[in-house]
């Protein structure tokens, strides 16, 4: 643990520096932003601040968060802002599966909600339907400091911001300290190789470390991309064109996974996102990778294993520590008749105090996407939540090191990386490595070499 602490602390100081530098630069470049920020945005005469129109009505579409009270708080804040500005606000929440067809329909009809939550790389899929919000993001940068690089990569298309950074759902390991102790594992593994050793020991307790390698919207991505990266593998080169999966590093990553599975790490190609949560709540497994939802639900609803549950950040591979988190941003859609009002509302909801009130109620499920949120008290309030804060910095996006694009989005939604591992991990971790790598390469080439 001490090592991890030190890394994070130095990282913070770097961020603090960048934040100060960013504000300084912004002050030089746009003095009016700072002035209007200081003197309450509604009174500032500046033209860069979007103004709400009295009598406008704004509809926002996003997914249903796991933390029920967090959705309620978000709706309350929006309604409060609406009442203060004479704007009718409607927030519609749908499940993760449902958000994309609804968004696609709105894009196709050129009509629909004024604001839509963009998950992962959607701004790259729907670029033409998302208004340029560079001005608003710059205002936020002036107030809150540097945006998280993953949010930034997803939001920026050809240098323009197509969405306003909203939140990060960090993914870390949730594990049972009692079973770990019983197996003689004193703390959660720091490296993938240690994870293999720990999995072997935990096998003796009958409660394995388990994870999906199937088609789960979140969990299979957040698990297998970081494994690939940790061993130096990648789907495609930084140019976003040359498929690079067929490498020694990829095989190293797969070999590690096979070793881990043979030792006692259990993978489930049939698991979707809810399955590891349920298995954990039911005392069937000793550890899994997930958002904070398992821990939070234990803490606020079940109370069965709260005391013997802890969370840990991602283990490191020979080529470094990597993580992948769920990233959500808000786009103002081009068909909105009141785009300025929509922008004004989003800015108000990102105000530091307002936002921190929301993350406090989200209880650690969400992390803020700007530097100003890096010392969010919600993570300090419960030391067990710290892991979820620690996985933010090593976070990357699917397709990394290439920038997000339509192609990386297609590779992601076809679960090519997870499928490659799943093929090699079939039959107790004895699948054909070469066939798995070749299959992934062919699928990736079909996507990236398509004109």
């Amino acid at each position: 643990m001490p090592k991890g602490n030190k890394r994070t602390r130095s990282d913070w100081s770097r961020r603090e520096f960048l934040k100060t530098a960013g504000v300084a630069a912004a002050t030089l470049a746009f003095p009016e932003i700072i002035i209007s920020c200081g003197g309450q945005s509604s009174t500032g005469p500046s033209t860069t601040i979007p103004k709400a129109r009295k009598g406008a009505s704004i509809r926002l579409l996003q997914w249903t968060s796991f933390v029920k009270p967090a959705d309620a708080e978000f709706k309350r804040q929006a309604a409060e802002w609406g009442a203060a500005n004479g704007v009718t606000v409607a927030i519609e929440t749908v499940t993760g599966d449902q958000l994309q067809p609804k968004t696609a329909a709105a894009v196709e009809a050129n009509s629909g909600p004024d604001i839509i939550q963009m998950q992962y790389g959607w701004p790259h899929l729907y670029t033409d339907s998302c208004l340029d919000v560079s001005n608003e993001v710059n205002i936020l940068i002036g107030k809150l400091g540097k945006p998280d690089p993953v949010n930034a990569a997803f939001c920026q298309v050809d240098g323009k911001w197509r969405a306003i950074p909203y939140t990060i759902v960090p993914n870390a390991w949730t594990y049972r300290t009692d079973y770990f102790q019983q197996a003689g594992v004193s703390s959660f593994p720091k490296t993938w190789d240690e994870l293999t050793a720990a999995a072997a020991k935990l096998k003796t307790t009958g409660k394995h470390i388990e994870q999906t390698d199937g088609h789960a919207y979140g969990d299979s991505l957040t698990m297998w991309n970081p494994v690939l990266w940790g061993f130096g593998g990648k789907e495609v080169n930084a140019d976003g064109k040359t498929v690079a999966i067929n490498s020694k590093e990829t095989r190293d990553a797969i070999r590690w996974a096979q070793g881990a599975v043979q030792a006692g790490f259990v993978v489930h190609p049939e698991w979707l996102d809810p399955d590891n949560n349920q298995a954990y709540h039911a005392d069937r497994i000793s550890g899994t990778l997930n958002g904070a939802s398992i821990y939070i639900r234990e803490k606020i609803e079940f109370h069965h294993y709260t005391d013997v549950t802890n969370n840990a950040p991602m283990p490191s591979g020979p080529k470094g520590t990597f993580a992948m988190n769920l990233i959500f941003n808000h786009a103002v859609m081009k068909w909105s008749p009141d785009a300025e009002t929509a922008k004004a509302m989003l800015l108000a909801l990102m105000e530091k105090d307002t936002y921190l009130k929301w993350t406090a109620i989200a209880a650690g499920y969400n992390a803020g996407p700007f530097d100003a949120f890096h010392n969010d008290p919600v993570f300090a309030a419960d030391p067990k939540l710290k892991a979820f804060q620690d996985v933010v910095a090593p976070g990357k996006w699917p397709g990394w090191p290439a920038l997000p694009s339509k192609k990386t989005a297609q590779a992601q939604t076809q679960y090519i990386v997870a499928d490659m591992f799943a093929k090699a991990l079939a039959n107790g971790g004895t699948g054909d490595i070469e066939a798995a790598v070749k299959g992934a390469e062919t699928s990736l080439k079909a996507i990236f070499e398509r004109p």
Binding site: T64, A90, Q98, A109, N277, D283
Partner: protein, 296 residues
């Protein structure tokens, strides 16, 4: 005056072995019926049990999961107090009823026309009506969205009432073609010879004879609209105008945590009352709607 098929089939010819009454019938009817019932109902039993289990009992498989130890009505209570379930149920019923009626009206006429009347182009029109079925809705919903936008029907139950017939009419029309086809031509021809007009022959002879088919088509149309998910998901925005399948999943699935108790309670409440209604309906047409129509 004819009797209906059921009692006739059930009636045993005289002079059979006495033991057949019980043993034969048990093997022929009761045993398969029992098997079918068990397989069909087990998932419903499981849903019902789940809907009465507390959150912690739900995940506990250390004792038999097939029984509830401390039944709770919490989930049903939640469903009615904390969600808009009554609204969803009402919306679903309205949409399903109206779109079924519209579709039946259209497809009775079209089905009769295509199955009974001879004219040029009938084949290609019948084919055309059905071919629309071959473009899957997983794709069709995108352009349909544009139509709904042009008609300003977003977030309006009429959007569903008017679009559901697009998949109900081809379905019912074809279904009814099958039934109209099965009615002996001579019956209608006899009426025509007696001086009835074509329309009279249709309304007084063909339609009453096809009534079991019409009722069956109504049943299917109602069920398809009752279950419809995609259009309801895309076209409706406010919780108060949603239908059961959409409303329930949106409010009871939170990220990666499922609220099984409420989900299963909603599933049961969204199907059992309808099933009971249906069984009366089926009873009605099995009990011999054709009686008096077929000349014996």
């Amino acid at each position: 005056m004819a009797t209906v098929a059921r009692p006739a089939l059930g009636k045993r010819p005289a002079g059979r072995v006495i033991g057949d009454r019980f043993v034969g019938r048990a093997i022929r009817v009761y045993l398969p019926l029992l098997l079918l019932l068990v397989v069909t109902l087990f998932p419903f039993y499981w849903m019902a049990v789940t809907s009465f289990k507390s959150a912690s009992e739900l995940f506990d498989f250390s004792v038999s999961p097939l029984w509830v130890r401390q039944p709770t009505l919490e989930w049903y209570h939640h469903l009615f107090t904390e969600t808009n379930f009554p609204h969803w149920a009402f919306n679903t019923a309205v949409v399903a009823t109206v779109s079924t009626l519209i579709s039946l009206f259209c497809s009775i006429l079209a089905g009769y026309s295509l199955a009974r009347l001879r004219y040029r182009g009938a084949d290609s029109i019948g084919w055309g009506i059905f071919v629309t079925y071959l473009v899957p809705p997983t794709l069709l919903f995108l352009p349909l969205t544009i139509v709904i936008r042009e008609l300003h029907l977003f977030n309006n139950l009429w959007a569903l009432i008017l679009t559901y017939p697009t998949f109900l009419i081809p379905f019912c029309t074809w279904m009814l073609m099958g039934f109209f086809k099965g009615i002996p031509r001579e019956l209608e021809e006899a009426a025509l010879v007696d001086g009835a007009t074509r329309i009279q022959a249709m309304v007084r002879i063909a339609i009453p004879l096809a009534l079991p088919g019409i009722l069956a088509a109504a049943l299917f149309a109602f069920t398809l609209s009752w279950n419809e998910f995609l259009y309801a998901l895309i076209f409706m925005n406010d919780s108060l105008v949603k239908t059961i399948p959409v409303g329930v999943t949106q409010e009871l699935i939170h990220g990666d945590e499922f609220f099984w108790g409420e989900l299963m309670a909603a599933a049961l409440l969204g199907s059992v009352p309808v099933a009971v209604l249906y069984s009366f309906f089926v009873d009605y047409f099995v009990a011999g709607m054709t009686a008096g129509a077929v000349k014996g």
